[in-house]
């Protein structure tokens, strides 16, 4: 069930109504929301519900045992149980076929066939998100800074809450779980903001992202050899905007729907394409994931390796090199998290190298990346080149794409003139988007209450009229 469909609208309206009707009986309200979330997930595949249920049980009971354990060794053991078993789930469902393919390729280099069995495995949509969310829960419990779920129901709902189940944001226990455990709001304090977020999400997804995908990106990336260099450059720009609109559009919808149900879901994007440098980009892009990587991977690795390097280097040098190595490893794993293919690993490595160079220049050589428009444009160009890797079917197609981009004499199909204003609008919204949203919210606030639904409906109709035919799937559902 995709968000931008009448079926989902009907499902959500019924869920919203019953959720607020049950509001005085908080336990029943939460039980109902959990059942609604599982029904939403089961509409994709019934087996997915079993997988998230098992994963949630593992995290919950390992976390419970961890907090009850007295000795540090026992606490660590329960932490490993919770994390390792869930990572195994993730590895099997997401990476098994990638692993067997890669092993088969290696064996074939020496003329042998791989001993690993080839089996068809379900890919539970959203597994990367809820496993990482669960890992943050149990690690925060271990470090005594998180909130423990007082009962299984609260934790199951925290993991399966349907607005953010399929593609995040990845919530910390102090963000979403705290609200679930609490008594919840008596009314809707943010109705205008919820409506604006939903409209914004719909516009980004069903108009902007869908148009660019159907009219440019899909064709250009499938067969780059058929397109001229200008078309490929536009394709690169187009995908840069597409992935942002697709993912941030989903996040806006998730946050708007969450607000209507009485929950505040964190923001996941902060105008990433006006980032000053590559570090700044990762503070603005997929914020919940990049902060997860910082807190649960980068900082522990940097601390451990800095300490380890003290044997050979002074304090400053060991801190620098420890963090440099940690950033490389973190981003290789970030790439792998995004998908079971070498193009994603290469993309992550590419960003790791960019950050390695950026931090090395800044912290080591005291050189600064040039700021202002030059810095922003340069950063955007580096990010866009990475997106070509990210979206290519394989490494050879990415190589073909890059080589064709530089061949301005080659003949082929061009690009539609109409994609230019779409992309220009997307770039302008990076700068003026928040102002536009705030103006819209203030405008709605000034209207009498009965006129607001009319304004929302009229805006929604403009969005839906501009929608191209068909429904394109969400990119991040593949992760």
């Amino acid at each position: 069930m995709q968000f931008a469909t009448l079926e989902f609208a009907a499902f959500f309206l019924i869920t919203l109504t019953l959720s607020w009707v049950l509001r005085p009986w908080r336990l029943w309200q939460k039980t109902f929301l959990l059942l609604a979330s599982y029904s939403f997930y089961a509409a994709l595949r019934l087996e997915f519900v079993a997988i998230i249920f098992v994963s949630s049980l593992l995290f919950y009971f390992a976390g419970k045992a961890l907090t009850m354990a007295q000795r540090k060794g026992a606490r660590l053991a329960w932490l490993w149980v919770g994390v390792v078993l869930n990572l195994l789930l993730l590895a099997v469902f997401k990476y098994y076929n990638f692993f067997t393919d890669s092993v088969a390729d290696l064996f074939s280099l020496v003329g042998l066939s791989s001993p690993l069995p080839v089996i068809e495995i379900l890919f539970p949509v959203g597994i990367s998100f809820y496993v990482f969310q669960g890992i943050s829960y149990i690690l925060d419990l271990y470090w005594k800074r998180g909130l423990q779920a007082p009962n299984l129901l609260d934790f199951l709902l925290f993991q399966a809450f349907f607005p953010q189940l399929l593609a995040g944001p990845i919530c910390r226990s102090r963000e979403l779980l705290e609200q679930i455990v609490g008594s919840g709001p008596r009314g809707l304090p943010e109705l205008n903001r919820a409506a604006t977020l939903i409209l914004s999400g719909l516009f980004k997804k069903v108009v902007l992202a869908h148009f660019i995908d159907a009219h440019l990106v899909l064709n250009v990336f499938t067969a780059p050899e058929n397109y001229t260099a200008p078309a490929l450059w536009m394709g690169m720009l187009g995908y840069t905007m597409l992935i942002y609109w697709d993912f941030s559009g989903y996040t806006d919808l998730a946050r708007g729907l969450g607000l209507l149900l009485g929950f505040e879901i964190p923001e996941n994007f902060d105008h990433p394409y006006i980032a000053r440098d590559i570090s700044d980009f990762w503070r603005r892009w997929h914020i919940t994931l990049s902060f997860w990587l910082r807190d649960y991977l980068f900082l522990p690795l940097a601390s451990k390796w800095s300490g380890g390097l003290r044997r050979w280097l002074d304090r400053k040098q060991s801190a620098l090199w420890g963090s440099q190595l940690a950033v490389l490893v973190t981003f290789v794993l970030c790439g792998l998290w995004h998908g079971a293919a070498w193009t994603f690993v290469l993309w992550g490595t590419y960003h790791g190298i960019l950050l390695f160079v950026h931090h090395g220049l800044r912290n080591g050589l005291r050189l600064r990346w040039r700021g202002g428009w030059w810095g922003t444009t340069g950063t955007l160009l580096l990010v866009m080149l990475g997106w070509v890797l990210f979206n290519s079917a394989d490494i050879s197609t990415a190589g073909l794409y890059f080589s064709r981009m530089l061949d301005f004499k080659a003949a082929g199909t061009g690009f539609e003139l109409l994609v230019v204003p779409f992309i220009a609008l997307g770039l302008l919204l990076q700068i003026w988007g928040p102002r536009l949203r705030a103006v819209y919210i203030r405008m709605c606030e000034r209207l009498p209450f009965f006129a607001r639904p009319v304004a929302w409906f009229a805006t929604g109709m403009v969005v839906l009229m501009l929608k191209p035919s068909g429904i394109a799937p969400y990119i991040y559902f593949g992760f």
Binding site: A10, L16, A104, E120, L218, A223, G414, W456, F457
Partner: protein
């Protein structure tokens, strides 16, 4: 500039607003709701859903909402579907086509009327030099790409490809393949067309005006779909071009497989009747027992050939099926691999 606002709205007011918006949405999209209701598979539920949707559509039409929305959307889609191209090749747009409604109402007469003169018999072993590959998202994506790359390994062959996701023969109101084929034939003058539809066609049939005609899994559906396949095959074959239709593969879901099997049977009979050729990817993707096949030994390695959804082909699967298609073409046409030519 902060987006946070403060006035607390009572849930009852918010819910009333939400239900009113939903009611308005249902009126505006009444025709889509009616289509969904008509396609309800359960014979128990269908009378109540179609009655309710019919009432809704009646109210929406009397308010003029349906016509207003469709006019606005037609204007927008006209701009989207008639692109001005930059920095490369552009398409010629051909606006002439026959309406499907008239033919649907008189299938016998229309079959006789649309029978075009057959220039080439199948199995003529002709040597195609310009091959057009068309179809739905499978052709737009991986399968089409691998077919194109494999065909380029033959001597004196130029390949053109056009795929459009979410399309098929069942909904000419959504996308008119007859129109598109005329346009592409004028542009590329192919002597062989490879076409694949079906993945999106296990649904009710509509006319070009969007009027619902027949439910899937009925004899009327089979007759009308078969007629459309015949008609489109003859259109592809006009001017001496050969036409080959690629059938849909087996699916993991047994119920979906049954539907595809029925569709493939209709397609194969219709294509053959119209003088075209039919390639079965069902046989390529099922094992000796006729069951869904997950992996296959291909290019010296065991590869998973289906995507996680049990519907689409994986990247390796697309390469494997493309290989099978090219072997079929070698059997029926004169296709000289570039290596042997050298």
């Amino acid at each position: 500039m902060s987006e946070k606002t403060s006035p607390v709205i009572p849930p009852s007011k918010a819910l009333l607003a939400a239900w009113l918006i939903m009611a308005a949405l249902l009126l505006v999209f009444a025709r889509d709701v009616s289509r969904q209701a008509d396609s309800t598979e359960s014979p128990l539920l269908r009378p109540s859903t179609t009655t309710g949707a019919g009432l809704l559509l009646g109210v929406a039409q009397s308010l003029g909402v349906v016509k207003a929305r469709e006019s606005m959307q037609s204007a927008v889609h006209f701009v989207y579907d008639n692109p001005l191209m930059l920095a490369g090749r552009a398409y010629q747009v051909n606006t002439q086509h026959e309406t499907i409604t008239a033919q649907a109402n008189d299938p016998v007469a229309s079959t006789e009327a649309t029978a075009a003169p057959v220039i080439n018999e199948p199995n003529s072993k002709s040597k195609p030099s310009s091959i057009l590959v068309i179809g739905d998202s499978s052709i737009q994506g991986s399968l089409g790409l691998h077919i194109e790359r494999k065909l380029e390994e033959y001597e004196d062959v130029v390949v053109h490809r056009f795929g459009q996701h979410s399309t098929g023969i069942a909904r000419p109101d959504y996308f008119d393949w007859w129109d598109k084929i005329e346009e592409l034939k004028a542009e590329y003058e192919p002597d062989l067309i490879l076409a694949h539809w079906g993945d999106n066609d296990c649904q009710g049939l509509s006319s070009t005006e969007g009027e619902f005609l027949y439910h899937f899994n009925t004899d009327e559906w089979d007759a009308e779909y078969g007629r459309r396949i015949e008609d489109i095959t003859r259109l592809m074959r006009e001017g001496g071009c050969d036409a080959v239709l690629i059938g849909a593969p087996i699916m993991r879901s047994k119920s979906f497989s049954k539907k595809i099997e029925r569709l493939n049977t209709v397609v194969e009979a219709a294509v053959t009747k119209a003088g075209g050729l039919y390639i079965s990817t069902w046989d390529l993707t099922s094992d000796d027992a006729g069951d869904y096949m997950v992996s296959v030994e291909f290019e010296g390695k065991k590869r998973v050939i289906r995507a996680a959804d049990g519907i689409h082909l994986s990247v390796h699967g697309a390469a494997y099926v493309a290989d099978g298609i090219c072997s079929f073409l070698e059997d029926h046409f004169t296709m000289v691999p570039l290596e042997s030519a050298e």
